[in-house]
Symmetry: C2
Subunit: 229 residues, 2 copies
Amino acid sequence: MSVNCDHCVIRDLNAFNSVSTEDLSNINKHKKSIHIKKGEILFEEGTALKGVYCLRSGKCKLTKLAPNGREQIVRFIKKGELIGHRSVISDSVTHLTITALEDMDVCFVPKSEILELFKKNGDFSLSLTKSICADLDEANNSIANMAQKNVKERLAESLLFFDRIFGKDSEGYISVNLTREEIANAIGTATESTIRLLSEFKKDGYISLSGRRIKIEDPVKLQHLAEGY
Amino acid sequence: MSVNCDHCVIRDLNAFNSVSTEDLSNINKHKKSIHIKKGEILFEEGTALKGVYCLRSGKCKLTKLAPNGREQIVRFIKKGELIGHRSVISDSVTHLTITALEDMDVCFVPKSEILELFKKNGDFSLSLTKSICADLDEANNSIANMAQKNVKERLAESLLFFDRIFGKDSEGYISVNLTREEIANAIGTATESTIRLLSEFKKDGYISLSGRRIKIEDPVKLQHLAEGY
DNA sequence: ATAAAAAAATGATAAATATCATATTTTGTT
DNA sequence: AACAAAATATGATATTTATCATTTTTTTAT
């Protein structure tokens, strides 16, 4: 079911917030709605994108294949964010693979519309560029964290991060379905190490576990851990 | 000594390549030339920038202070590149400290000029955004390298990277003056580990050393190492 | 609801890396 | 050129993290 861009729930969450109703109706005419099931891939590393994707609902992971064959999760994306704008702006293939962590509704907006808007609408281009700058800032933080923190600190930091960006379910557990392996692929460690440390955090009362789900019990202590105390 | 932007040697190396002679003469009127000595700081993490810096000559490092008090080198910048545009575009304080690795000549261009140009000149904004996208790509690569590669692989990779971007001096040594500690801060390891691995690489014939300087003797083997063979 | 498959958990051990200590060499400065 | 300071080098040891093996639990698909 297609939704009019003008009334889209996530309209204010990304660069499209600075687009006039008129231009938006043009975008609306050219957009296509797509449904992606959990576990499915939106696009893969090395693909030339024909447009930008706007995530209306759901969550996904952005991964890169390392030379050792393991996948590195570079970033998570949730409702409201754009996907593929880097590739469209640079006019180059994408270097990331997008995989749905849960069912997703996505709107596809053709490249030509995006580039036209970018060139003619200074507010749109500024807004889009700002969001890329924010991604760059985040990435620089990740580099420092990866380089300077040990695995325990990175895990503590990531749990707090997941809690912050994905929120909690009705029982207070972090509201994202990640396997231990995926957590390991995000923080750059072996799956067993992640499992071991989660058990340790549980034993220490920092978190509690229910199957795959994780609940943060002591955010203050976890924060201290993340900062290396 | 001030140089006219229109005839600047590095004019083609960054987003200013898409600026008309007329607009450039306006930039030229407002720019200020600055000389920064080796070891000096151009600006520090947390500063609100009043403009963008254009690096006419020299090399510098972009660092971030980690919670553990160590500095993380996030990136290196050489002649021709812009500095501070992320901060200016985002209208937020900078999150990086810029330190000269050798004497630098820099041109300062006020924020107002940059933002005006960004809004009115679609080619300029596209070009600038493309370069930020390239930085983001690079940063994502760094994240994957930090997370997935061990210290030996990261060091091999970094040596090849330094050789590629900084070139060689008259004797074939990599043409950048980095201490072992700085190399360690770039790859995210202890200084002693870096020193030990450099000794090992030397023993194995991959590199040779002369004081602080490093010469790559077997790029093919180093490349294999970097890829984990 | 059940069975098969996948994931999580945990132990034992090996390998990588950090830390601390100290000697030697190089660099930068006068 | 000589000196002091800084950086490099290396050994010994501790700590962290990875790997391999196996059992238990959870998830997924029917």
